[in-house]
Structures are given as C-alpha cells and as structure tokens.
C-alpha cells in the first residue's frame, strides 16, 4: 500500500500548503476580503433556478463578493480538473462525477472539509456519496445530487403483449424478450453496448461484485460464479431483446421511444424530460406519449427494488482556492434546503436524505425513491476513475453485446481492472 501512503502525504501537504497560501488559513476566524468565487458545474443537470438562487443568495450574504458559474462539459473533465485544480488559476468550487471523485480526493486536490461535515448536512447527507467524497478518513467532497436509474416503458406495448410491470429480475428479463419477440424489429429493452451502468445491477443482484478489497489488494470479481450468472442474463437481454447499436452509447434514448422502435429502456430519471420535450425543441421528444409512458424501478431478484448504480455528483472546494472561506459559504448555500429542493422538484435525488419528499408523489417519484434507497456505488478505490477512463468496461460490455465468450472476456477484464487498481 505504498501508493496510499503517498497519497495521504500528498493530501496533508496540499492542505497545509493551501492553508499557508490561501490568504489566511482555514481556521482563521476573521472574515476574508471580498472576492469572486468561481463555481464549476458540469453539464446541464443543475437547473437554471438553482444557479440563480446560488448567485443571488451568495452575493446578498457577502456584500462586495461575486459568484460566477462556469459550465463545464463532461468530455475532457478529468483532464481539465487535473491541470486547473493544480494550477494558480484554480476555480474555487468544482463539481465532479461521483466515480471520478476519488481520483482527486486522494491526490489532495480538495480542501479537507471534515470539521464542517456537520454544518454541511452531517448524517443527513447521502451516505454512499459521502463515502465517495471521503479519503483516508477525511471528508473532502460533499454529495451534490444523485441521479437514479428507472425503467421507462410503453404502457400499450406491455398491455398488448399481455404483460404487467415485472416484480422480479427474471420477470423483467422474460418481459423484455417477449416484447422483442412479439414486435420484430423493435427493442423489448433498448440497451446500447457501451451502457455499462445498466449492467451492474445484474451482477449485484446475483450476488456478484465488481471488485473486493482483501488482504491489501483489490480482487476483481467479474469472473466469479455469481457475476457470470448476471453476465449471462445481460448478454441474453442485449442480444435477444435489444436492437440498439452494439457499440453505441446511451445518448438520445428518447428517439427510439418516440419513433416507436423502443418499447422499454432503462435510463437516468431525467430521461423523462427528454421524452416529453416539445416536438419543436432542439432535441424533440413526443409529449403526446405522456399518458402511454410508464415507469418502474428495476426489480430485484427476490422482488423489491434492485441494487442499482447511483450516478451523480460530488462537490468540493479546491485546495488552491484563493477564498476558501467564501467558497465554504457558497458551498453551504449549495447544500442548503432551498437549493437542494430545486433538484428534488426536477427529478434528481437531493443530497439531503430529509428532502426525498421533494421528489413528489407521482409514479416516477415513487420509482426514484425506491431505486435510490437501494443505490450502490463502484469500488471505493482512488484508482477506480482510471478503470472507467481506460474504457475497459465499455469495451467489455460491447463485446458481451456482440455475443462474445463471457468466461474468457471476464477473465481478461478482471486482470485489467486488478492491474489498474493494484498498479
């Protein structure tokens, strides 16, 4: 575990450095001089209302200071964070994907927020995301929001096939295959090969794991008997029930749904808004399908909600921030009830458990909260982001979708994952 100890030193060093450099240490009670706080939000998930709220509240509370939101794209984010957070032009607050967080918390890129844990929400924060944002017993990046994966379906298609909403995983599989068989040329479950997030529940539900940490080493588990069972189910679905491109990614899921070639799809909860977008929107949807759009949480092996992958974001303060105090104040607004409620009303799971009710009470909300209750994360290794970046997982599932040999492919994948995690 030489790596880990270096990382720990790095983290400590970075925090000390930031304390010295950042115009007054963290602990200093005296207020900082007014300044401009730069916040990096990624993608378009955070609604405009929330952005406006953050800016006005912050500027009201801190006269003389300003706050600028700079929108980043997910493409190339890790590259950009690696350079920018380590340089002198670092933004103050950055959002980072929850699976990418460890790469930065372990590198000492974020300010240690351990002693503000309570103020920022404490045990009300989503526990899985707190774990993703912590390293070596310290809390670096707070949860921002969580997405949740749901299954969207066409009510008429399910009814026409004489099926009902599945209650177990095997029913889910047989439903999808029946739909595909009854409707040649259509996807009983639209599943592009690169979409590995959707694959994880099958592994977890069958008792498998992605990787486990034992005796000081990571042991990847795709080749375990339990995982193999899940992989076989995945391959069955991908080859028999899906017409999606075998090497495609999960963009534009609404298109197939709207032109009728997709009967079911599993996707993040906000895909509802893509489907129901006006027909003259930039990326048009099909609002006329609203009454036909059904939704449920992926069922588990023994009923109930399956353990699904919880995508989402963490948010932290750069160790190089010139205004750590101001940044902390802004972060408190972001994790405040008002700001987080906006996520809830827009179908994203807020960072605070107590706000789950803001999701509403409709079908989607119910599905979201049952899915979120059982959400799981990828292995808590600082190197996990590298596994994702290497493309090994997308490559693997593309090959599974093509009908490749599960045993040999998963063996190779395990080796690759282990070489990265233990490397």
């Amino acid at each position: 575990m030489r790596k880990l100890s270096f990382a720990a030193i790095a983290a400590v060093a970075a925090i000390t450095l930031a304390g010295c450099a950042g115009g007054g240490s963290n602990d200093a009670p005296e207020a900082e001089k007014p300044g401009n706080i730069r916040v990096w939000l990624v993608g378009t998930d955070t609604p405009q209302a929330a952005r406006d709220l953050l800016k006005t509240q912050f500027e009201e509370q801190n006269p003389g200071s300003t706050l600028t939101i700079e929108e980043q794209s997910w493409t190339g984010l890790v590259d950009k964070l690696t350079t920018s957070l380590s340089g002198s032009d670092s933004p103050d607050i950055v959002e980072v994907g929850n699976t990418q967080a460890a790469a930065f918390t372990s590198a000492g890129a974020f300010l240690d927020l351990t002693k503000y844990y309570k103020e920022l929400g404490g045990d009300d924060l989503l526990p899985g995301f707190v774990e993703a944002g912590s390293y070596d017993g310290k809390f670096y990046a707070a949860p921002l929001y969580s997405g949740s994966r749901l299954v969207f379906y066409k009510k008429d298609a399910l009814a026409a096939a004489g099926l009902s909403v599945p209650t177990t995983l095997s029913e889910y599989i047989s439903n999808a295959e029946t739909l595909a068989a009854d409707n040649p040329g259509k996807s009983g479950l639209w599943w592009p090969g690169q979409d590995w997030y959707n694959a994880l529940p099958f592994i977890w539900e069958n008792g498998g794991q992605v990787a486990v940490f034992k005796d000081g080493k990571w042991d990847a588990q795709f080749n375990s008997a339990a995982s193999q069972k899940g992989l076989a189910q995945i391959q069955e679905l991908m080859t028999k029930a899906s017409n999606a491109p075998k090497d495609g990614n999960e963009t534009n899921p609404q298109v197939g749904f709207c032109d009728g070639t997709t009967l079911q799809l599993s996707a993040p909860s906000w895909v509802k808004w893509s489907i129901l977008a006006p027909t003259d929107a930039d990326t048009p949807g099909c609002p006329d399908q609203e009454s036909n759009l059904g939704v449920y949480a992926l069922p588990g092996v023994n009923g109930g909600a399956a353990q699904v992958f919880a995508g989402g974001s963490n948010i932290g303060i750069s160790a190089k921030s010139a205004h750590p105090q101001l940044a902390l104040k802004a972060l408190k607004i972001i994790l405040g009830k008002e700001f987080q409620t906006i996520y809830g009303t827009n179908g994203l799971v807020p960072a605070l458990k107590s706000l789950a009710s803001t999701l509403g009470t409709d079908e989607v909300a119910k599905a979201i909260s049952s899915a979120a209750g059982n959400a799981r994360l990828t292995p808590a290794s600082p190197k996990w982001a590298e596994v994702e970046a290497s493309g090994a997982l997308t490559d693997f599932f593309v090959q599974i979708a093509q009908g490749g040999d599960i045993d040999s492919l998963s063996k190779a994948l395990d080796e690759k994952i282990e070489s990265i995690l233990n490397g």
């Binding site: 993608g43 378009t44 405009q48 700079e70 929108e71 794209s73 997910w74 493409t75 190339g76 590259d79 950009k80 690696t82 350079t83 920018s84 380590s86 340089g87 002198s88 032009d89 933004p91 990614n249 999960e250 963009t251 534009n252 609404q254 298109v255 032109d259 993040p268 893509s274 027909t279 930039d282 990326t283 048009p284």
Partner: protein
C-alpha cells in the same frame, strides 16, 4: 485553380503522326471522357462530407434522426444556426470565434517571422551548432504532444500566461515552428544569394537585404507554410481545453465539443451547424491563398 498555365500535352503517349490518325483521335476522345468522368468522381468523393454537413445543418433535428434519410432538406430551416448562435445558455460562438481568429492569426504571423529568421540562420550562415539545430528541429516534430500537456500547462502557469491569447499562441507557435523552419529552409535556399549581394552593393545592410529582398521573394513559401500553422492552431482541441479554462477564453474546437453531451441528448443538427460555421473561415482563407500556395509548395521543394 492553380496558377500553372502551361498547357500540358494530354494523354498523348502515342501521339506521333501515323496513318491511323483517326483511330488514335477517337481513342484520345474516349480516354479524355474517361478521365473527366474520374475527375467528377473525385470531386464527388471530396465534396460529399462537406455537402452532407451543410445540408444536415439546414434540417430540423427531428428529421435527421429518423428512419428516413434526406439527401436534401425537406423542411429547410435556419433554426439550428439560431440554436448555435443565439441561445444564451450555451457557450457563445462569437467570443470563441474571436479567440480562435486571434490565436490563429497571431500563430501564423509570429511563427512565420521567427521561422524566417531561423531559416536564414541555417541557410545563409555556417556555424558550429547548425547541424545540431537542424536535427533537433526534426526530432521535435516527432514528440507526441499529448504526453506533455501537464508540463506545458505548468510552464504557462509559471509565466502567468494561462487564459491568455499570448499563452496559447506561444504553445501553438512552438508546435508549428519546427515544421515551418524546416520547410522555409528550402525556400530560402531557392532565393539566389546574388540578389542579396546586389542589394548590399547598392547600400543595404545585410539585415536590410534579408528584409527588403529575400523576404518578399519568399512570399509563396510563406503562404505555403503559413497554412500549416493556420490549420494546426484552428483545430487544436486538447491544449485549448486545458489552457483556456475560462469560458470567455474558449476557442472554437472546445466550443464545438459543448454540443456533444455524454449520456444525454445530442443535437446533431446543431453540431453540423456548428461544424459548418467552424469550417467557413478556413475555407475562405484557403480560397484566398490557394493559387499562391501550391505554387509556393513546389518552388521550395524543387528548387530547394
């Protein structure tokens, strides 16, 4: 197109006057038609992606993504250009265009000037480390820049050049200079020294002779090599992404990337409209200089 005006003997391998003249003429006609047909095919092959990009950019997005493929916009629309240019919650086109133009033009001018001086040094003088310099220049071209991004970022950070036009210009100059020096060398060689000497007899200093006589004569060579700087600076994505981290400093390739949203909805029509907009300045630039360029490329290489 090119300035070459010399009429070339065309397909006249067996053109000696013979008794079978008629036959040969018919054959020549056939060959000529065949060649013209091939040239039309080459034209179509070259233009098709450009055409496809432009025609897609004029279609409504929902007609692009569908079972039917349109070879000509059924419902012609400027909406995508509106999306790309006017929507306020997106990265702005005009500032990005401004940044790209500034960086690109500066890169071209600065790299040509510096390369001209360096090329003079290695062609008009013999000095000790000349050979080492030339070989170094060649080797630099082989370094995969992707490996040095973090180091380059730090250098710029150290000189307080992040998020500045000058910073990115310097980086692009550095990546273009080796090629430019290497190439200009050939062109400078092609300008007879006698001309410079004549100028010096007429009272010009050596520097004056270089500037007043050699430099203008290099025009075609400068155009030809400038093109590479232009293309390089206009298209580069990775360095621009990390060096110009502030949104107001974004360049066009980075701007174009903001339309591709992972795990979301991709507005293909808008991407095509953005790509078209990004290509227009290059095409204009090329049309302006094309004639001189090809002429220049060769006079350098052949005359050497």
């Amino acid at each position: 197109m090119t300035a070459a005006t010399v009429a070339r003997p065309t397909g006249t391998a067996d053109a000696q006057p013979t008794i079978r003249r008629r036959n040969s003429r018919a054959k020549r006609r056939a060959v000529s038609i065949l060649l013209s047909a091939i040239s039309v095919l080459v034209f179509i092959g070259s233009v098709f992606p450009v055409y496809w990009m432009v025609q897609t950019s004029f279609q409504p997005n929902n007609e692009i993504i569908g079972a039917e493929v349109n070879f000509w916009p059924k419902n012609f629309t400027f909406k995508n250009y509106g999306t790309v240019l006017l929507e306020s919650d997106r990265a702005q086109f005009l500032p990005a265009l401004g940044n790209s133009l500034m960086v690109t033009l500066l890169t071209v001018v600065v790299s040509l000037l510096f390369a001209f001086l360096a090329a003079l040094a290695v062609t008009r003088f013999r000095f000790r480390s000349r050979r080492a310099f030339i070989i170094t220049i060649l080797i630099i071209q082989m370094i995969p820049g992707e490996a040095m991004i973090v180091s380059i970022y730090r250098v710029l950070d150290g000189w307080a050049l992040l998020n500045t036009i000058i910073g990115l210009t310097l980086v692009y100059c550095a990546s273009v200079l080796p090629f430019t020096i290497w190439t200009l060398r050939g062109f400078v060689n092609g300008v007879p020294v006698d001309l410079e000497e004549a100028g010096m007899i007429d009272g010009l200093s050596r520097a004056g002779a270089f500037w007043r006589i050699t430099f203008p004569l290099l025009a075609p060579g400068l155009v030809a090599t400038g093109v590479f700087g232009f293309i390089q600076a206009w298209n580069e994505f990775l360095l621009a992404l990390v060096v110009m981290a502030r949104p107001e400093m974004m360049t066009l390739p980075v701007w174009l990337r903001t339309f591709q949203v992972a795990n979301g909805t991709t507005n293909w029509a808008a991407i095509m409209a953005g790509s078209t907009l990004m290509s227009i300045p290059v095409i204009v630039f090329f049309l302006l200089i094309q004639g001189r360029m090809t002429q220049g490329l060769v006079s350098g290489a052949v005359k050497g």
